[in-house]
């Protein structure tokens, strides 16, 4: 979508627009709409396969012999995930602050909040990396069972989206440092923000459906 993002910039500068809205912004919303179906499919798959794995480990239940050769404890680590969830929520706050800073033309805070958002995103990814590795140690690989496959692919794809977002944010930060982002760039920050918040709301859904609900 970044593709679309800066593309029409020059066009918008002199082309008539029927709605008075910005092309990029309409584009990103259309993209977000389509992402809804993307994540709906992933989440459906996770829920459909929930409780259908024929070998452990399982998300919420421990698995002891004879069911499992070696005793396996419930995989999901709620405290840690709650932390990362919180971090991601806060990143959304930073994002809106970054946006309004750019609108105000406040060079200092635009940099600070952009950096803050990117950092929060990176932290979230850190948590996820930790989570994944510890799962692997506890015996849950992407190839282990239906739960493993559907869990890692769902959360992995979300993680990939966060990564893309972080890169996008860093690019903006970079531009900000080079020539500074002003009100004229507000729209570009806005679409990045919309994407970022969407990734956040997707996690809100995942956190409940995957982690909290048995």
């Amino acid at each position: 979508m970044a593709t679309a993002a800066l593309d029409s910039h020059a066009l918008a500068a002199h082309h008539y627009s029927s709605t008075g809205l910005d092309n990029k912004k309409i584009g990103i919303w259309a993209f977000i709409g389509s992402e809804c179906l993307f994540f709906a499919s992933l989440i459906s798959t996770y829920l459909i396969y929930k409780g259908h794995s024929i070998t452990g480990p399982y998300p919420h239940e421990a698995c002891n012999p004879p069911a499992c050769a070696t005793p396996l404890k419930a995989i999901l680590n709620i405290p840690v995930t709650s932390m990362s969830t919180f971090v991601l929520l806060m990143s959304s706050l930073f994002m809106v602050l970054a946006h309004s800073a750019v609108v105000r033309g406040d060079r200092k805070y635009s940099k600070i909040w952009l950096a803050g958002t990117a950092l929060a995103g990176a932290t979230f990814l850190g948590f996820q990396a930790f989570e994944f590795t510890s799962f692997v140690h506890e015996g849950l690989k992407i190839t282990t069972n239906l739960f493993g496959s559907s869990f890692f692919v769902l959360t992995g794809f979300h993680g990939a989206h966060v990564t893309a977002g972080v890169i996008w944010l860093i690019t903006l930060l970079f531009i900000d440092m080079k020539r500074g982002l002003g009100p004229r760039d507000a729209i570009n920050v806005d679409i990045c923000a919309l994407y970022w918040h969407f990734v956040d709301v997707v996690w809100i859904a995942i956190f409940t459906l995957v982690y909290l609900i048995k």
């Binding site: 593709t3 020059a10 002199h14 029927s18 809205l21 389509s34 179906l37 993307f38």
Partner: protein, 663 residues
């Protein structure tokens, strides 16, 4: 026009992009890209058709031995995949590209470079999938590749890999284009063009884009699962791990049914343009036509499981999907009847375009009705996976989509090339196609009812299928014969067809106010739209006076046309020298900034395809791993990284250079 002038931040494109092959490789002009789509898709139509001819030859008589069972399975898989993803979708895309900006009165699509990207991704994906033929490893899992047959366990070898990777690449193309056209139609309509004044084809295109951006993510997920299973050992469809094969079926058809409306709606749109023009009468019940498109699209998401009536979903689910499926007949019926209403009381002129349009009305109805027969679950238990289904979907796909698209080609060829297609050859094409099409596909109803399963590479004697198969095969070759007329017509008329002039048909929509072919900037000044049928308002105000929306005190539309005035001749015959006299000012003279041609989208798409195709080598490595030897080489990873690098570099390069030289 922008007044703030910044010094150009990048050198203008090299002059070589102005003409020759480079002008095509680097183009960002929606009209050029539209033509690229058009000719590529027609090429694939010949390929898919030849595959079909081999299929028919094999099935001509009992115990056919023309090709082996293995080859046959590749043939029908590739035939289906080609016709759907490389023929009908790109043909529709050709019209989206060429027409939508013209019809909404814009200079180009919202994101011209993204548009070029879409095309190059499409072509590389299609070529990638067809390359598999050269190593006789073409996809062989059927066009809906049911798991677990398509998992490594039952389909070792690269056939299915080619299919999956190809589909994934094609999906990227469709999605990118989808967003592009949504934005274009929402935001680039000329002043005064309310939604309810949009040409009906633009409406069809608009809704189709939503179907695309909402349906393709689902197939992307389904295909990604299967890729991960095949390449990295996940369990989404792994029988041994307790996977449920119905997961693939539900995800696929949740995409697959909206997909079939993606295939038909653009054709409906084109026909809704052709019928009024040649009836000299506005589209009957325009608003209802619009609503029915929307309703069809929406219902299209609620009927997918009608492809799965035999899998045992239980009586409740069966009943629900049966009924939702039947509901779709209602909005579709409205369209058929409104088309009849459009012709009723008109003064019909039977040009080739008109013939194909009428062909759609007549033939699609047959396919639609057999569709309703499928929707009755118990009846479908006899019909499903038999030739009765094959009959159904060829009536809707060939009798519907292809007929509509041919109508569109005959109708818009003059606008695209400035020259008329030969009506004589065209009529021959239509009538031979019409006869061949019914000879080919009507007997398939009987084959199905008489118990012939689909996808069988040969059948025994004395099954009562010989006669119908004879007829079907003969019909197919008649179709091929008819298609040759079309091929010849296209090639000849491009060079020596009669000069078209702006408006050879006396059509109502604004694209016909432009010279043929239109200048690269389309409209010298944006048209002011005051009604649904601006050109008719100009030419016959007394007729359109009663058009409700132009009776709202709007002033007559003011469409300024570069070069000659609007030509209203019927055949362009009295305009022989028109092309010569039309010398319109260049964008530069008019001070219209045009997007700079650039090769970057092409490079980006190449990078993307390379990255994907690296996966093919993964299969070899898996073999080694299977042989308990550690994969000695990691070609796949290497290739994927390389491709990724190309993609990212090209993309950043493209994003950070402004679309146009600043002025």
């Amino acid at each position: 026009m922008a007044t703030t002038v910044a010094p150009p931040r990048h050198a203008p494109a090299p002059p070589k992009y102005e003409r020759g092959v480079w002008s095509w490789l680097a183009t960002v002009d929606h009209k050029k890209i539209g033509q690229l789509y058009l000719y590529s898709a027609l090429g694939f139509f010949l390929i898919g058709g030849i595959e079909a001819l081999i299929i028919r030859a094999q099935l001509y008589g009992p115990d056919g031995r023309l090709v082996s069972a293995e080859t046959y399975n590749m043939l029908f898989t590739m035939h289906g995949t080609t016709m759907i993803f490389m023929v009908v979708m790109p043909l529709s895309a050709a019209f989206f590209n060429y027409l939508v900006p013209l019809q909404v009165g814009a200079r180009d699509v919202a994101f011209p470079r993204l548009n070029a990207f879409s095309y190059w991704v499409f072509i590389s994906g299609s070529l990638f999938m067809n390359v598999s033929w050269f190593i006789h490893a073409a996809p062989n899992g059927g066009w809906f590749g049911y798991a677990p047959l398509t998992t490594r366990a039952y389909s070792p070898g690269v056939n299915i890999d080619f299919w999956l990777i190809g589909l994934q690449i094609l999906g990227v193309s469709s999605l990118a284009a989808g967003f592009n056209f949504i934005v274009t139609i929402v935001n680039m309509r000329a002043p005064g063009m309310h939604l309810m004044r949009m040409p009906i084809f633009t409406w069809a295109a608009f809704i189709t884009q939503f179907l695309i951006v909402l349906a393709f993510p689902i197939i992307t997920v389904a295909v990604t699962f299967l890729m991960l299973d095949r390449f990295f050992g996940t369990n989404f469809y792994t029988v041994a791990a307790g996977a449920d094969p119905l997961l693939w079926q539900h995800l696929f058809w949740l995409f697959g049914h909206p997909e079939v409306y993606i295939l038909i709606l653009p054709a409906f749109g084109l026909v809704s343009e052709v019928l009024p023009t040649f009836s000299r009468k506005p589209l009957f019940g325009y608003p209802v036509m619009v609503y029915s498109i929307i309703l069809i699209a929406f219902l299209g998401f609620g009927v997918w499981a009608h492809h799965m009536f035999a899998v045992g979903m239980g009586p409740i689910a069966d009943s629900i999907f049966s009924i939702t499926t039947m509901l779709i007949a209602i909005p579709t019926g409205v369209k058929i009847f409104n088309w009849l209403g459009t012709m009723w009381g008109g003064s019909l002129r039977f040009t080739t375009a008109m013939l194909f349009a009428i062909g759609l009305v007549g033939l699609f109805t047959i396919g639609g009705i057999s569709g309703i027969m499928h929707s009755s679950v118990p009846a479908d238990l006899q019909q499903t996976d038999s030739y009765f289904i094959v009959a159904h979907f060829h009536y809707v796909l060939f009798g519907g989509s292809m007929m509509g698209l041919f109508a569109g080609i005959y109708y818009y060829f003059p606008k695209i090339t400035g020259r008329m297609l030969s009506e004589e050859l065209g009529k021959a094409h239509f009538w031979i196609t019409f006869v061949g099409m019914n000879l080919t596909f009507f007997p398939m109803h009987f084959l199905g009812l008489h118990g012939m399963p689909r996808r069988i590479s040969s059948y025994n004697a004395n099954q009562g299928w010989d006669l119908d198969n004879h007829i079907a095969t003969i019909g197919a070759f008649i179709l091929a014969f008819g298609t040759l007329f079309f091929v010849v017509n296209m090639i000849r008329s491009r060079r020596s067809g009669a000069i078209a002039g702006n408006d050879p048909w006396g059509a109502p929509s604004i694209e016909w106010s432009l010279p043929s072919p239109p200048p690269d900037y389309n409209y010298a000044t944006l048209p002011q739209i005051t009604s649904r049928y601006p050109l008719w308002d100009r030419k016959a105000p007394h007729l359109t006076a009663e058009v409700p929306h132009s009776a709202r005190g709007d002033k007559q539309s003011t469409i300024r046309v570069a070069g000659s005035a609007v030509a209203t001749a019927e055949y362009g015959t009295d305009l022989q020298d028109d092309l010569a006299v039309v010398s319109f000012p260049s964008a530069h003279e008019l001070g219209i900034p045009m997007p700079t041609p650039t090769i970057k989208p092409l490079l980006a798409s190449l990078g993307l395809s390379v990255a994907f195709s690296g996966l093919i080598y993964r299969e070899k490595e898996l073999e080694l791993i299977a042989k308990m030897q550690p994969a000695t080489h990691h070609v796949s990873i290497a290739i994927m990284l390389l491709g990724g690098a190309i993609f990212v570099t090209a993309l950043y390069n493209w994003l950070l250079t402004p679309l146009e030289p600043e002025h």
